[in-house]
Amino acid sequence: MGIRPILSTLLRHKITAALLILQIALTCAIVCNAVFLIHQRLQRMDIPSGIAEHDLLQIQLAYIGDRPDAYAQAQTDLATLRQIAGVQAVALANQLPLSGYAMSNSGIKLRPHQQHESLQVASYYGQNLLSTLGVRLVSGRDFQSEELLDLKAVMPALHSSDLKHLPHNVIVSQAVAAHLWPGQDALGKTIYVGNDIPLQVIGVSAPLARPDALQLGAQYSIVYPIRLTSTEGGSYVIRTAAGDRERVLASALAALKQLDPDRIVLQQRTYDELRQRFFESDRAMAGVLLGVILSMLVITALGIAGLVSFWVAQRRHIIGVRRALGATRRDILQYFQTENFLLATIGVALGMALAYGMNLFLMQHYELPRLPSIYLPAGAIALWSIGQLAVLGPALRAAAVPPVVATRGS
């Protein structure tokens, strides 16, 4: 059947048709961008931390008042925790990947007196750090325990620029090595931090995500040979089998309490909980977006169905005449389906331009990447299907109009 009669009918309902097209266009544009936003969030939530996530526990303690013997106490704590059945390794770490709060960042330079930093990285340190977290070394070696300096001694040395009592070695993550020395061996290279403090790279680690500010490069991190205590913000990280986590956490807390009851537990959780918390807002945002997309598609489908029902009722007489003149039910059905397809096509074409415009606005104001072009045909197919689905009911009703209607008055 030709398109011409459909067009001429639509032209007589210009405003209504235009409104329908506008609705389809707006829905298409918003849905394309919202689906893209959801995809971005899901992608972000997928970032690998690089550590043995399901096997780790974190306990953070705080003392009341000053503790001169904090370093000795920390060694006792670590030894006691290691004795607990099921514990594979224990670390005392300054921060953890994706914990949402960076205790420490460093600006790296490649030469002394370099004006601008080459890279902003997260700096990790602590005792038994990499082995407990399950981050393997790609090349080079891990720190020996006697190489570690105490943070309380490093701080004054830092202020007096006393290079002798500052770390000389560093471990960088693969991502840092690849960024600073593309295609070269990072081992033995020197980086500079602060007022040109030189550090020699002795190891390159597998990926290790930073605690926050992922936009600065999710995997840019380095490890210093420094140890700290819980008075300086460190927390105990315990590695155990995933199935033992709850039991080990309870025993560890009991053991620590027994060693010194005058400490406050600030944090006690599995690493999975920590990671869950970090991406909570992304998950919520994705949920909101999904809800809006679904509501919008339902409203649009119902709107199309309602409008076409009206048209069918309005054209009952004409449909009857056409049926009397020999049009089959199939012809009538196809008429409404083709009409809807035409409207949806114009709407989708307009919607793609709108989607692109919206994406430009979002790129400017919310640092989003460009909308990949695959979203546009996907959006078109979605709107076409919804249109056809919505029109089916009223169109079937139209096809059921008997030819005898033609003989009655309008």
Partner: protein, 432 residues
Amino acid sequence: MFGYYLDMALRSLRRNRALTALMVVAIAMGIGASMTTLTVLHVLSGDPLPRISSTLYAAQLDPRDMGGYRLEDEPPDQVTWIDGMNLLRAKRADRQALMTGGSVAIQPAQSALDPFYEPARYTTADFFSMFDVPFKYGHAWGASEDAARAAVVVISNKLNDKLFGGGDSRGRMLRADGHALRIIGVLGDWRPNPHFYDLNVKNYGSDEGVYLPLSTSQDLHLAHLGSAGCWGNGGADATPVAPCVWLQFWVQLYTPARANAYRQFLIHYSQEQKALGRFPRPPNVRLRNLMQWLDYQHVVPGDIQLQTWLALGFLLVCLVNTMGLMLAKFLRRAPELGVRRALGASRQALFVQLLVESGVVGLAGGLGGLLLACLGLWMVRRQPTDYAPLAHLDGAMLLLTFVLALGASLLAGVLPAWRACRVSPGLQLKGH
């Protein structure tokens, strides 16, 4: 006349129940989504101190070394200990306070309560008068306590309830980090949102329970909580000697002229420090008032803005949807309208009649939207965000819901009504 139109509108709406329901639901969903996000946006971008915010300013200086220097750089958000103390002593503003965040371990006297950590604020005396902080019992400390590093403390209403059952606790001792501090005041209900004076801790829903003199906090080595921006060999440590910014400096200046004079003073101070060799960079100062400061710090989360845009887009789709349905409905009634025209009703009368019909749809949609917005805000409050507990509908937003719903439905009705009342009286009568 209006009563008659209303009656006709209700009759007409009843005739096409499904269609009416569709229009009402579309408006309700659009309004519900928009009001949920607009309420959150309204709460988050509000003025925490509406009466005095225009007289409060955050002072910024640039004490950093030349590493990474760019001409267009903004100065750091916080100040160093030395600069903060210098500006405080200069007393060139009407009021001034130097402060930072902290965290202290509280050991309750009654053994039923375990020791716990409480967020604290270490500040100089003007904090309370400058920010117009209400007191339930007692009063703030003064300059003499600041100078004497007195072991005094002001606590929040909430902490007072927790520790002393809400009684007048003046003169009692608070054990904090192993030190005994004498309570001299209890705050009234005071929780400014956003937490404008220190956005390094938590932007919303922050409740510091303990306030004590900055000098005392240094004496007792109480823990700092917040961020420390360092350069050179600064190791992120918040101490007076470190090359780090970790304190907030706020001033109150009653007139714009005073503010300009203060800005000049900051420039002059920076030049002086440069001459002394302390500031390697050229003078770079900012003096933003409270609302400018919040804007500069982007306190309203980007996600909230994005959700608001999305909801408004959704409302637009619902509006276009309703407009199309209303047009179809009104045009269908052309015969009836033609009869009314032929019987002497003016075009204007028909137009008003049809608009009343869309208004009724709008009001019903607004009511539904209000319910959906309440549901939406309940869901927002269940989210684990800082601002979750703040998401409540207030009077202004309630009014806006109905204004928006009525406005949207009338807007959706204008074009269809205009189109429908152009019927010519004769033409429609012929067929019948």
